[in-house]
C-alpha cells in the first residue's frame, strides 16, 4: 500500500443489466470515476451504485457477502474471466491496482444453463446445493460419535482432504468450462470425503448419486479442458476430477446403485 493519497482512475464499464429471469438483458455502459487502487472490485461497484442512486437509477445487483474470499457468494465474469485476471482470487479480493486508468471492463454474470440469471449479475446457483444433497455428506446423526482421536488419520490424507475441502462453491469452474461442467465442484467434495475413513463407506454410492444428479441439473460433461482449475479462486487441483471418475467407474462396474 502506497503512503499518501494514491492516484485515482477512471474506468469504462460495460455491465449486463437484466430486470429478472424472464426479461431480456443487455449491456449498459457506465463511467467509474475516482477509483482508488486500494479498493476492491466490489467497492468499485459500490461507488458506481452510489452514483447511480444519486442520479435516480436502480443500482446494479450483484451477489456478495463476506468480502474476504471465503463465502463464495461473489461471482462475475470480468473481461471474460471468472473472478477477473488474478489467479487464485475471488472478485471481492481482486483489487483495482490490477487495472489501469482508462481501462474498459466487461462485467457479466456466470453463463450456464444450470445457473439461470436472477437479476443483472446475480444467478441462481441452487443446483450446487442439490448436488451436495445428492450425496455430499457422511450419513451420521448428531450424538453418539466416537472419540475424535479413536481413528488416527495420516497427516498426508488429512491434508489431501483439506486441499479439496477448500472449495467455496462459487461456480467459477462451471462458468469457465466450455461445457459448463460441474466436475471440479463435485470432485472436490468427493475427494475430501474419500481421503477420510469416515467417508469411505459411501464412496462409490456418493460418486454415482452426485454425478447422475449433475447430469439431471443440466451441467455438461467433463472433457478435460481444465479451464476450471485455472479459474478456481481456491486453486482446487484437477486430480479431484480423476478421483471422481475413478469412483464413478468403480461404482458403475460394480453396479453399485446405492
Amino acid at each position: 500500500m502506497a503512503d499518501g493519497s494514491p492516484k485515482t482512475m477512471t474506468l469504462t464499464l460495460h455491465v449486463w443489466r437484466q430486470k429478472n429471469a424472464r426479461a431480456a438483458g443487455a449491456f449498459q455502459t457506465y463511467k467509474a470515476t475516482g477509483v482508488s487502487p486500494d479498493q476492491s472490485f466490489l467497492e468499485m461497484l459500490d461507488l458506481v451504485n452510489e452514483d447511480l442512486i444519486g442520479r435516480g437509477q436502480e443500482p446494479i445487483a450483484f451477489d456478495h457477502d463476506c468480502r474476504e474470499g471465503i463465502c463464495g457468494m461473489c461471482s462475475l465474469m470480468i473481461n471474460g474471466e471468472p473472478h477477473g485476471p488474478e489467479r487464485g482470487t475471488t472478485t471481492c479480493q481482486l483489487h483495482m491496482r490490477h487495472f489501469h486508468d482508462g481501462d474498459e471492463i466487461v462485467i457479466e454474470p456466470w453463463r450456464a444453463r444450470a445457473f439461470p440469471v436472477v437479476r443483472d449479475l446475480v444467478v441462481d446457483r441452487g443446483a450446487f446445493d442439490r448436488l451436495i444433497q445428492a450425496g455430499g455428506y457422511v450419513s451420521v446423526n448428531a450424538g453418539g460419535a466416537p472419540d475424535a482421536n479413536s481413528v488416527p488419520i495420516p497427516k498426508k490424507e488429512a491434508d489431501l482432504a483439506m486441499d479439496a475441502a477448500a472449495c467455496i462453491g462459487c461456480g467459477a469452474c462451471v462458468a469457465a468450462c466450455p461445457n459448463a461442467s460441474a466436475m471440479l465442484f463435485v470432485g472436490a467434495k468427493m475427494s475430501q470425503l474419500r481421503h477420510l475413513p469416515q467417508g469411505k463407506p459411501e464412496q462409490t454410492k456418493r460418486a454415482l448419486n452426485m454425478l447422475n444428479r449433475a447430469d439431471k441439473e443440466g451441467f455438461g460433461a467433463c472433457r478435460n479442458h481444465f479451464e476450471c482449475e485455472a479459474a478456481c479462486p481456491k486453486e482446487i487441483p484437477r486430480r479431484v476430477m480423476a478421483e471422481a471418475f475413478r469412483d464413478y467407474v468403480t461404482a458403475a462396474v460394480n453396479r453399485d446403485d446405492g
Binding site: 443500482p59 463476506c66 463465502c71 463464495g72 446445493d129 444433497q133 448428531a142 460419535a145 475441502a165
Partner: protein
Amino acid sequence: MTASITESIAAKSKKSPVDYPLSDLKLDAKVPSGPLEQKWEKHKFDSKLVNPANKRKYTVLVVGSGLAGASAASTLAELGYNVHCFCFQDSPRRAHSIAAQGGINAAKNYQNDGDSVFRLFYDTIKGGDFRAREANVYRLALNSRNIIDQCVAQGVPFAREYGGQLANRSFGGAQVSRTFYARGQTGQQLLLGAYSSLSRMIEAGRVKMHTRTEMLDLVLVDGHAKGIVTRNLTNGKVERWAGDAVLLCTGGYGNVFYLSTNAQGCNVTATYRAFKRGAAFGNPCYTQIHPTCIPVHGDDQSKLTLMSESLRNDGRIWVPKKNEDCTKSPEQIPEQDRDYFLERRYPAFGNLCPRDIASRAAKVACDDEGRGVGPEVNGRRLGVFLDFSKSIAEKGRAEIEGKYGNLFDMYAKITAEDPYKTPMRIYPAVHYTMGGLWVDYNLMSNIPGLFVLGEANFSDHGANRLGASALMQGLSDGYFVIPSTIAGYLAGQKPAAAPTEHAAFKEVDGDVQQRIERLLAIKGKRSPRSFHKALGKIMWDECGMARSEQGLAGAIEQIKALRAEFWENVAVLGDNDNMNVSLEMAGRVADFLEFGELMCLDALHRNESCGGHFRAEFQTEDGEALRNDDEFAYAAAWLHRGDDKTPALAKEPLVFENIKLAQRSYK
C-alpha cells in the same frame, strides 16, 4: 481497587444522565438446582420429552443457516421434527460462520497440559469479565468435547499431527493448547460439516430450505411465538410461515458500526423485530473489537478484514518507542527502539492476552500516544506491527507457511505487501457481539416458543468472548442443547395450533407490507449506504473501544436526528416485484438506526468498565477496566415499550457460586 476509586464510582452511579424505567418483569433463568457438574444431566432427565411418533406433528422454524442454525435444523430433523430453515443468502453454505479462521476450543486435554472442562469454564467466565451465567458456560465447556467428535465423524478435515492424531494450537486468554483447527479455515470446514448434515436432511425431505428469504417479523399467538413473516428477495413476495416454535439463529449485529469484519448482509433485523414484539434484548453494549485486523485504507472501504488471532501464537506485536520513528519502515527501527507493548504490560500472557485487552492496548499506543504506524488516514496513523521475523528465524519459513499460509496470502492480496519479509500492520476492528436476545437455560427468550441460538443470543460470553469460542457456542447450541430443551416446551403445546389464516398472522403481514410500501414511497435523495456509513461513524466514535457519558448522550441525539432524516430522505429505487438491493439494505439500515440507540443507552446506563465495554470514567490507575460488582453484576435485559418511549430495564442478577469474582489479571 483503591478506596478513593470505589467512592468515585458510587458517586457517579447515583446521578445517571439518562432516565429509563425499570421493568417489573422477573427474568427466570431456569437454572437447574444441584452441583454445577450435574446440572445439565439432571436437567435433561427432568425435562419432558416428545415421543418419536409425535415429533413429526411439530413444525420448527429455524431462521439462519450458520453454525447454530444449520446444526439445529439438521439435528431437529434427524430427531423427526418437521423443519423449515430460512436464509437470506443464495445458499445455506454462505452464512458468515464460514469466515471464522482460527479454530474451535474443546476441553479434550489431548495435549495433557492440564486442561479440563472446569478450566475451559473458568477461562470463559474470567475472559468474559464475570458477566456471564455460570450454568450456561459450564454446559458449553462440557459439550465442547462432543462437538469435536461429531465434526470428525462428519468428515471435517481438522489439522493432524504426523501420527494421525488431532493437532492443537493456543489462543488468547488461555494457558493451555485446546484449539482445534483446519488451516485458517476452521469456520468454513465446520459450517460445511453442518451444511452437509442439513443437505442430507433436505434430500430426505425432512427440512424444507428457503434461500434468499429474509425474516422481517415475528408472529405471536396468545403470547407464544408461532410464526414468522418473510420477504422473498428474488420476487419481493411477502409470506407467512406457521410453526410450533421459532429459532432465531441470525448472528450478531456488528454491522451497526458499518465497518466491521462481518459479512455485508449481516444485520440485526430478525432479533430487533423480535425485540419490538416483546423479546428482551440482553447486554446490547457488549461488543468485541478484535485486535488483529487489517487497518482501514480509505474512505470508500466497505469492510474490514480479520487476520486470525492464531497469528498471535507466532507474531509479536510492537510499535516504535519514539514518535519520530513512526514514519520509518520497520527494518530501519533497531530492536532497542521497539516497544513490544503487550509483552511489556502483560508478561504472563504476552501477545496472547484476551482480545479486549489487546485491542485497548493498541488503541492507547496509536490514538493516545501517537505511536501508530502505516499510512495516514484522516490525519492519523492507526496501525501496529505484527512481526513474524523472530518465529521465521527460529522455526523456518516452511513451518510458518504451513500454519498460516492462507492468511499471509490474504494479507498480501489486500495490502500488496509481503508479510514474510516485512511485519504485518494491524488495528482493532468490530468483530463480534456478545449481546443478543436474552435467553434462559433452555435458550428460550422471555417469549414462550422463541428460542435464540449462537451469536444472536446473549448467553455465554459475558462482556468479552475468548477466541475460538464462537464456533463452539454455535455448535453446542445447535447439535446438543436445543434438541433437548425444545422438547420441554413442545411437549406442553398442541401441535399446529395456529394456521397462517389466524388474525395475528394477518396483522403482522400487514405491518410488513406497510413498512415496505413506506420505504418505497419516500423517494428521497440519500442512499441507504450513506445513512449506514453515517451511523457507523457515530457508533465507532462514541460507542466503540472507549465510551464516555457525554459521548454516549450526544450519540443518542445524533442517531435520533439521522433516523428522522432517513425516513424523510432515503432513496429506495425500484419496486417490490423483483430483486431490489436498495430495498433490502434500506430495511436493514432502518433497524440499525433504532438499534444503535439501544446500544448507546445500555452503554450509558452501565456505569462501570467490563470486558469489551470500556467507560473512560471507570478505569484503574494503570488504565485497566474497572468493574463495579456491587451495582452491575447483572445482565441488562431491555424491553420495548413503544416507538417513542425509552425501553425499560429488567435485571437478571448474576450469581457466582463456583468462581470467585476477582479483578482480571493477565500480568
